[in-house]
């Protein structure tokens, strides 16, 4: 009997990514951020989330997708990772998908190197690949 997992999915450009729903604290719209000088390009800033200060990570930057995408404001996927609360800035939010372990495959070699580190594997869905994000790697200090 194949096991099913639920993933919260989002788009970076046209690529679909997902994180286990258990890791996701909330999904909210664009929030005003305070920039952190000297922090590196992936750190877009700090968000005040109901009194908690959350670091906002530009996931496109992290994953290595060029910023020639749409200029609209990113959405926040707030995740818990290793005791930290971090917000991933993504282009668009997808649906919560239930995926079957049977469809899981290790990272395809067609994915560029920087992305491969940040991705645990991929689920084959109808017509597209859903990349499972390695949130710990993604939120590790660079």
């Amino acid at each position: 009997m194949a096991t099913a997992t639920q993933l919260c999915t989002f788009y970076l450009d046209d690529q679909l990514f997902g994180v286990p729903v258990a890791e996701v604290q909330e999904v909210i719209r664009y929030q005003r951020m305070t920039p952190v000088p000297l922090a590196g390009p992936e750190v877009r800033g700090l968000i005040n989330l109901r009194g908690q200060i959350v670091t906002a990570l530009d996931l496109r930057q992290r994953v290595g997708i060029a910023h020639n995408g749409p200029a609209r404001q990113p959405m926040n996927v707030v995740i818990r990772s290793d005791g930290d609360v971090v917000s991933l800035l993504v282009d668009e939010i997808g649906d919560v998908q239930t995926v079957d372990e049977a469809d899981f495959e290790p990272v395809p070699t067609t994915i560029p190197e920087e992305q491969r580190r940040l991705v645990r594997g991929a689920y084959k869905l109808d017509g597209q690949l859903l990349l499972l994000l390695n949130s710990r790697e993604a939120t590790a200090p660079c």
Binding site: I47, G51, I53
Partner: protein, 837 residues
């Protein structure tokens, strides 16, 4: 079974506290061996542990403490006099108990070690005779027994478990003696725990006398009543007729503890009238009822809530500031007051006296001084100085290491000290006090001091600094080198200290909690280590500044002053080789541009371009001051410090972040990190050492610093205060402006003087013949001058008076420094040699 676990846990916690206190008391006892109060107190502590361990079935623990108790009993009764070997054995007992407790904590059992040797030793020591009369001993013995019983009853009373008290009491038959003893015991116990069960069981195990017998004794030999005690806790008492009630009481206990207790107090008065005990139990105010044990996690939660409240209050303050509604304004003020008081109160709950950490030192000093055969006197002032609990935890190890170092390496042996005409007994003084929002802890010894020469050499050997740097840096900076990783000048790595991993870890640990450590030493005289720690980490007053439309917070504790430079004011920011400085009351203040540091538009530039006033925030890091230029200065606020996430923690210039009144996030600057990044402070003291511009602000105001240079074999000195930089002039860069030799230096023209030419001494190698010539850039008579010398040697401290005198007189003053005759140059006079350009 859970109950039992809980009881064991309580027993462990309580016993640890007691053991710590025992260490301290035993050491103190050595100094006053006759003190009956101390002996009695120590006896009771061991007695408790013995009793409780019996209940839990910890046989070894029980037998070991029993041996100790017997010895103590004889000491307390005056049959024996305390000798150092007894103290050592008793301290060994404490250690053994600690080990066993640790084992119990981890594994649930006592462990294999039987400590037979220790038990034998303790028993042996009991046999020693002394001159006290036998009769006296016998008389006191019976009183002691009654005290035992009293102690027994008293012990359990300190808890809130009335039923146990009542029963133990009734069994023991303790009465008035119990009262006074109860008072004392209560004072010793600070917790209302459930460890009383053991006391009851102990009594039941027949460790003490049969109830009736001791009971009778109690009636006739009541101890002196303690007036204070009477008034407090409802005391256990034993009705004379209470013995038959024992069995009854036992069965009743579970059902009706209150009634049993309530019935007791009145009869206490009866035996009070009699007082016969020769051993007075000291009057200690029962503290049990005034304290309560709280889980630290709960306090943390409270602190967080209060932090949130502070933020919300800040927001409301903002709204109310914009409102005209008087009701709102006055209510907000009230809210403001209450929040501040609440905040203070909650912070106090976490405060612990530093004495808690220091309590281990008397024993440590005693043990070490015996081991190393040194005589050391320990003085501790300011034990009651309070610190947040987390800080107390964090400095335990660093302080211990520093103390060990001082004893091991700092203080000399009695023979060495005598040879140096010092008192044979070395002194180690610990001081703690509050000052300016910080706690200062000083550890001062009058030992050999640090050998800065050896430190410089060692640092060069270890590759920590270069040879030149080792010559340029001041003694003070040289001393700080010991905090570098991998540094140890101890010739032999002893067990006690000197493995070379100590001081840098100490510094790290202290800086981790936001503190700083510095060291001052005088060779031959001693060393002082000073630790500064901020009082609180969570909610701090801060200055809010703006840069590039973003707000930043600067902790007020690092703030010295604010300076505002109007755009067209006469004095402005000057540049020395591209580095901005500002002359603040005759001191050169290095200027740091926050914009540049953060890789944002330069604040100085912006102000200049827009013709705005320049705002300088004068900050202090590690005793160096520098000025931070920002766009605007807002106001001071109390902010809640929130830690940054993992990703950002490694950035040294940020200490955290906070939420402003309007909900925006602002970063909190780490002043120390900023100073290091902008090279005001040398990161790990690497890099070219620039003589600190305000080295004159040494802690000891009567000292000043001189830079020593040489021409051939002649030595000259310049007041370090006037020295801006040490440079090397490359050949071929000397040009002429009119008749004056100059060089292009940091964007401006610097007149240079050849010292040999000026002083008329034989010329050393001309600049043209050497690749690089050392040049000292000084400030004299309002201008910068470069002085060419043959060699830059050293920086030394001399009495300030010497420097002052040299600058006043027309002729140069001479003095002897490091066994060489040295002329101190009069800079004003030198400046006169610069022809007007």
């Amino acid at each position: 079974m859970d109950d039992l676990q809980g009881l064991v846990k309580d027993f462990l916690v309580e016993s640890h506290e007691n053991l710590d206190r025992l260490d301290d008391e035993l050491v103190k006892l050595e100094h006053e061996p006759e003190s009956p109060e101390r002996l009695a107190s120590i006896f009771r502590t061991i007695h408790t542990i013995k009793g409780t361990s019996g209940f839990f079935g910890f046989g070894t623990l029980q037998s070991v403490t029993h041996a100790g108790e017997s010895l103590l009993s004889r000491l307390r009764d005056g049959e024996l006099r305390l000798q150092p070997d007894m103290t050592t054995a008793l301290l060994a007992l404490v250690d053994a108990v600690r080990d066993m407790l640790a084992h119990i904590e981890e594994k649930g059992s006592e462990g294999e070690e039987k400590y037979e040797a220790l038990v034998v030793r303790l028993t042996e020591l009991q046999q020693a005779r002394n001159a006290a009369s036998e009769a006296k001993k016998r008389e006191e013995a019976s009183a002691a027994d009654s005290q035992d019983a009293a102690a027994e009853a008293a012990m359990c009373w300190s808890t809130s478990s009335a039923r146990d008290c009542a029963s133990a009491d009734l069994i023991e038959g303790g009465s008035a003696g119990a009262e006074a003893a109860a008072a004392e015991r209560a004072a010793l116990e600070t917790e209302a725990g459930e460890a009383t069960g053991p006391q009851v069981a102990d009594a039941q195990m027949g460790d003490s006398k049969p109830p009736a017998e001791s009971h009778r004794k109690m009636r006739s030999e009541a101890a002196e009543p303690d007036a204070a005690a009477t008034g407090t806790a409802a005391l256990p008492d034993a009705r004379p007729a209470g013995v038959p009630a024992t069995a009854e009481a036992h069965s009743d206990l579970e059902a009706d503890p209150e009634a049993a207790t309530a019935a007791l107090p009145p009869s206490v008065e009866e035996p009070l009238a009699e007082s016969a005990s020769p051993n007075r139990i000291s009057r200690l105010i029962p503290a049990a009822d005034r304290t309560i044990r709280v889980d630290v996690a709960l306090l943390d939660q409270l602190m967080n809530r209060v932090g949130e409240l502070v933020l919300a209050r800040n927001q409301i303050l903002q709204f109310s500031a914009q409102s005209n509604d008087p009701a709102l304004v006055s209510t907000t003020q009230r809210l403001n007051l209450i929040t501040s008081e609440l905040q203070e109160g909650v912070m106090k709950t976490r405060m612990q006296p530093i004495g808690n950490v220091w309590s281990r030192f008397p024993r440590l000093v005693r043990d070490l001084s015996l081991q190393l055969k040194k005589q050391i006197r320990l003085e501790m002032t300011g034990k009651e100085t309070e610190l947040d609990k987390t800080i107390v935890e964090a400095i335990k190890d660093p302080l211990t290491h520093i103390v060990r170092n001082a004893i091991d390496h700092g203080l000399e042996t009695p023979e060495q000290r005598e040879a140096r005409n010092k008192p044979v007994e070395g002194s180690l003084i610990l001081r703690a006090f509050h000052e300016g929002g910080q706690v200062i802890i000083e550890i001062k010894d009058d030992g050999a001091g640090l050998n800065t020469e050896r430190i410089r050499k060692k640092a060069v050997d270890r590759g920590i600094i270069s040879v030149e740097q080792s010559l340029r840096i001041s003694d003070r900076e040289a001393a700080q080198l010991i905090f570098e990783p991998g540094f140890s000048t101890a010739e032999t790595v002893t067990n006690v200290s000197g493995r070379g991993v100590g001081m840098d870890v100490v510094k790290n640990n202290i800086e981790k909690i936001g503190g700083s450590v510095e060291i001052q030493t005088t060779p031959g005289k001693g060393t002082t280590i000073r630790i500064k720690i901020p009082l609180t980490l969570a909610i701090i007053p801060a200055l809010i500044v703006t840069l590039n439309d973003d707000r930043f917070a600067i902790p007020q504790v690092s703030l010295s002053e604010l300076v505002r430079l109007e755009p067209n004011a006469g004095k402005g920011i000057e540049f020395l080789q591209g580095t901005p400085v500002y002359r603040l009351r005759n001191r050169l203040l290095p200027i740091v541009d926050l914009g540049t540091q953060l890789e944002l538009p330069s604040a100085l530039e912006c102000c200049r371009k827009e013709g705005r006033a320049i705002n300088i925030v004068v900050l202090r890091a590690d005793d160096r001051e520098f000025g931070l230029v920002v766009d605007a200065i807002n106001d001071t606020e109390e902010i809640v410090v929130k830690p940054l996430s993992r990703m950002l923690k490694s950035l040294p210039i940020y200490a955290g972040a906070t939420i402003m009144g309007d909900g925006d996030v602002a970063l909190i600057l780490d002043v120390l990190g900023l100073a290091q990044k902008s090279k005001i402070l040398l990161e790990h003291r690497h890099g070219a050492a620039c003589p600190s511009v305000e080295d004159s602000s040494d802690d000891d105001q009567s000292q000043g610093s001189l830079l020593i240079v040489s021409l051939g074999s002649r030595r000259y000195a310049l007041p370090l205060q006037s020295v801006a930089r040490l440079e090397e002039l490359r050949s071929g860069t000397v040009e002429f402006a009119g008749m004056q030799e100059v060089v292009q230096y940091r964007g401006s023209i610097l007149p240079i003087l050849r010292l040999d030419a000026v002083l008329g001494v034989p010329t050393f190698l001309a600049p043209e013949d050497r690749d690089r010539v050392p040049m000292v850039v000084v400030q004299a008579a309002g201008k910068s001058i470069g002085i060419l010398v043959e060699q830059i040697n050293d920086i030394v401290s001399v009495p300030a008076e010497t420097i002052d005198a040299s600058q006043r007189d027309v002729t140069t003053a001479s003095t002897v420094i490091h066994d060489r005759v040295t002329d101190i140059l009069n800079l004003t006079q030198l400046a006169g040699y610069v022809s007007a350009c």
